[in-house]
Amino acid sequence: MKINDVILRTVTKAVVFIILTLGVYLFFAGHHAPGGGFIGGLVLASGIVLLYLAYDIETVHRGVPFNFKKVAAVGVLLATGTGIGSIFFDVPFLTQTGKYITLPILGKTSFSTVTLFEAGVALTVVGTVVTIILSISEEEEG
């Protein structure tokens, strides 16, 4: 039986962008306000999962052509890499550092290695969650 999912699809089209934007916002807000790599990653993942629910896997894959296993692997490498990176500056493993730089439009902005670390966390979360859900659900076709 084919489910009539016009409503779901229509809503998804609008909502996904809100979710994804929220995810990105949460990721960057994390330093001073609620948010961060883990939540940001989760929200992004939930947006993508919603896409998969509303459309089929092939359609989404055409729009979001990432290999999510690789995304997760890159995330893990980023997270561990920033940790190892600190060794080369002769400080203990996983030491984070940051700097405030005044940019033309954004004003006073902070740049820090913790952002890279959080990006690693976020990518791992997105990659792993989507990989798990895909690999379990894709079986249905086969």
Binding site: H31, S46, K69, S110
Partner: protein, 798 residues
């Protein structure tokens, strides 16, 4: 620093091989790899001169300073001998392997493991820190395992690899315990510092010694742990020549030599090292005679030669007890003989292994019953085998003769010593040595006679035998040059390489006196008579071999140490399977029972036992009306789950619970938690729904009444425990709270959101590992669902 890089180089190249081997198609990969051992060999030869003049090279790299584990490379005379063997024989073996292994084999694996081994072995002999030494030590076991199982489609290879691994690693763990005891006694992991201290009166001294010896004996295939070495011969011949005769099996000897200044001079050490060494010598040579496979013969021969070297180190340790007065200095000669024979053994045994490899490669079999009369067909190989065997048998004019004579001298000398109750039993030592030498002579003759002389039996061979290509002959020929060269100029080796090693073994002794002058001709001494006796009796026994072969019938398969090993392994497998099956029932309810019983017992047990459970609700804020509503919704949902008939209902109700908790987080002003909870809840629900496909319909489970009651009670206890934690946590005062630590989050971590500064900065290590765990879990799900095992693997023997 350079030495540390020298250790790192093989590892580095080994790591690069998997990336680059695809681009090497035109030439054999071995040619590229050959550069590594050759350049390392040249690098280490440059140390010969400064070390001979008394220098040592120490470099400290602070690896884990908080645990006092530093990578200290320490290059002295003793290490130098081993580094030269490792890199020198390594070069020759690599060269040999280029012609031995065809390009169809998975060469990148082979050379990757080989370099891994080379680096690890260099690490073993160059580390001053016991922990670092141990790490490299186990790494040699691992690479040996991989190399033995190189032809892993063969059952015997896999079994041999496992046997070697089990035995050497068991010994390795014992050794680790010994090292820890040593470090405990001396307060340092540094071998130099331990040697400098006198710890012989400590209570842990003897246990530490036994543990360390166990490690050394298993690694060096000493009786009764020798059984792994013959099975390790399933490895490709270059590997046997390299690891299982020239280098890795000598790691145990290195350890004994290195720690002799610590343990030497003690009664037990002397008797264990000498006794086990002599027993191994006798048993190995006795068993070598019965072998029909040439490699097995060489394996037992290696076992026995290792025993010989080991026993010499034992005899040499007497000098630590007696001191270095003029009349006692003679005992240090045994150590000198050990070092000398160590080098000699590597030359002739390496050459012999390569010869056997050539025979195997060109004739197609190593079975002496099928071989014979190859002399005319393979003249060069025959010459090499002849020289190697005669050197092994201890005949002039080859280097084995010199060290064998010194071995007899040492045994004759020690027989007359009057320490360690040698007065009574000492006379047996030279007798055992002599008997073992007779057997050594017999198997050396067998090796040459049965293979190259006698009758040619082409009907029993699969291939038409012919001489090996020149490339395969270069390495053994070079070794033969050494065999003869060392005989002619033994003192060049003695002064340049053995003397500094003696200096590092006997730091307090007068160096000029402990290095004897090696001479081939001593006059008509007992040693020479013993050698003549060996030749005469050996030849007679060889001729009469068919008559007394029946002796070996006593040592049947069922009564061997192999049977003991096999029974132990299969018993361990069966009993662990039985134990595992008892608790791994495949029933999830059962697993939950384990988890919650443990949880209740430990957590609730702790709170009740320690009296930490206190609560005080007087300071709690008022519960608002909307909170009451939430609570009732949650209670309703939670109770209703129990009566849900369909999975979907249960999951949705579970979702209700989750969202309500998120609501609570909102009312308690924890937006981070609320957000996380909301998203996690949504994704979990999706996950549940995806998984449903695979689950059967929910049915009421039929359980006995007592089981059901137990489950209900356990659930109630679990709930009560969680409630108790919730109540007690505000008044818990056993540890100082860590929250004060995060007050300065902005200043310390530059972030106002302390949740995030905890995740990303204060506890970043946890977060990092969690990320890794998450990733591994994802990979696990992927592999479990996507990758199906192949139906059959026809290339593997069972």
């Amino acid at each position: 620093m350079m030495i540390l890089l020298a250790i790192a180089l093989p590892f580095l190249i080994a790591a690069l091989i998997p990336i680059f081997y695809r681009h090497v198609r035109q030439i054999h990969l071995g040619w590229l790899i050959l550069v590594v051992p050759v350049s390392l060999f040249i690098f280490f030869t440059r140390f010969i001169r400064p070390i001979a003049s008394g220098d040592v090279f120490i470099y400290t790299y602070h690896w884990i300073p908080s645990f006092n584990i530093n990578i200290i490379t320490y290059l002295d005379g003793l290490s130098l001998i081993f580094t030269l063997l490792i890199t020198g024989i390594g070069s020759l073996v690599t060269l040999y392997s280029i012609f031995y292994l065809s390009e169809k084999e998975s060469l990148h694996h082979f050379y990757c493991y080989l370099l891994l081994f080379m680096g690890a072995m260099l690490g073993v002999v160059l580390s001053d820190n016991l922990m670092v030494l141990y790490t490299f030590w186990e790494l040699t076991s691992v690479s040996s395992f991989l190399l033995i199982a190189f032809w892993h489609h063969r059952k015997a290879s896999r079994a041999g690899a496992r046997k070697a691994m089990v035995i050497t690693v068991t010994g390795g763990i014992a050794m680790l315990a010994g090292f820890l005891m040593l470090a405990q006694m001396a307060g340092s992991f540094s071998i130099r510092e331990i040697i400098a201290m006198d710890i012989s009166s400590e209570t842990l001294f003897i246990p530490a010694m036994l543990c360390v010896l166990l490690g050394a004996f298993t690694k060096s295939a000493q009786f009764p742990f020798h059984i792994w070495l013959p099975d390790a011969m399933e490895a490709p011949t270059p590997v046997s020549a390299y690891l299982h005769s020239a280098t890795m099996v000598k790691a145990g000897i290195y350890l004994v030599a290195r720690l002799s200044p610590v343990f030497g001079g003690v009664y037990l050490w002397f008797w264990l090292v000498t006794g086990v060494g002599l027993l191994t010598l006798l048993w190995g040579s006795f068993n070598a005679v019965r072998q029909t496979d040439l490699k097995a013969l060489l394996a037992y021969s290696t076992v026995s030669q290792l025993g010989l070297i080991m026993s010499l180190f034992g005899v040499g340790s007497v000098a630590y007890h007696l001191g270095y007065a003029t009349e006692n200095i003679i005992y240090t000669q045994a150590t000198f003989a050990a070092l000398f024979h160590l080098v000699n053994h590597s030359t002739f045994k390496g050459a012999l292994f390569m010869v056997v490899g050539i025979v195997d490669h060109e004739v197609g079999t190593r079975d002496v019953r099928r071989l014979g009369g190859l002399m005319a067909l393979m003249p060069v190989t025959f010459t090499i085998a002849m020289i190697g065997s005669l050197s092994m048998a201890g005949l002039p004019p080859f280097n084995g003769f010199l060290s064998k004579e010194m071995f007899f001298t040492s045994m004759l000398t020690i027989a007359q010593a009057d320490v360690f109750s040698l007065q009574t039993v000492g006379v047996f030592l030279p007798i055992i040595a002599w008997i073992a030498s007779v057997f050594t002579f017999i198997y050396s003759v067998i090796l040459v006679y049965k293979t190259f002389l006698g009758k040619f039996k082409p009907e029993r061979l699969d291939k038409r035998p012919h001489e090996a290509p020149i490339g395969m002959l270069i390495s053994p020929l070079l070794l033969v040059v050494f065999i003869i060269g060392i005989f002619i100029f033994p003192n060049a080796l003695g002064q340049a390489i053995l003397k500094p090693a003696m200096a590092s073994l006997y730091p307090d002794a007068p160096l000029t006196q402990i290095v004897p002058h090696i001479a081939a001709w001593h006059g008509l001494q007992p040693e020479l008579l013993m050698t003549i006796g060996v030749v005469v009796i050996g030849l007679i026994l060889f001729k009469l071999l068919p008559k007394w072969r029946r002796v070996y019938g006593i040592f049947t398969r069922e009564r061997s140490f192999n049977a003991l090993y096999n029974n132990t392994i299969s018993f361990a497998e069966r009993s662990s399977l039985r134990i595992t099956n008892r608790y791994m029932t495949g029933d999830i309810t059962q697993y939950f029972v384990y988890i919650y019983v443990f949880f209740v017992a430990v957590i609730a047990g702790y709170f009740l036992w320690s009296g930490a459970f206190t609560y005080d609700m007087s300071k709690d804020s008022k519960i608002e009306y909307y909170e009451w509503i939430l609570i009732f919704v949650m209670i309703f949902a939670a109770v209703y789950i129990l009566f849900a008939k369909r999975r979907m209902t249960a999951v949705l109700l579970n979702g209700v619970l989750g969202y309500c908790i998120a609501f609570f987080f909102v009312t308690f002003r924890a937006p981070d938690l609320a957000l996380t909870q909301l998203v996690v809840e949504s994704i979990t629900t999706v996950l549940f729904l995806v998984c449903f496909r695979y689950l059967p319909d929910m049915r009421a489970e039929r359980k006995s009444r007592s089981k059901r009651n137990f489950h209900v009670a356990l659930s109630l206890f679990t709930g009560a425990t969680v409630t108790m934690i919730g109540l007690a946590v505000l008044n818990y005062d056993r540890f100082p709270p860590v929250s004060a630590y995060f007050n300065d989050a902005l200043a310390l971590a530059g972030g106002a959101n302390i949740v995030n500064t905890i995740l990303g900065d204060f506890r970043a290590f946890d977060t990092m590992l969690e990320v890794v765990v998450l990733f591994i879990a994802g990979l696990g799900v992927y592999t479990l669902t996507k990758l199906k095992p192949k139906k059959e693997a026809p290339t593997h023997e069972d």
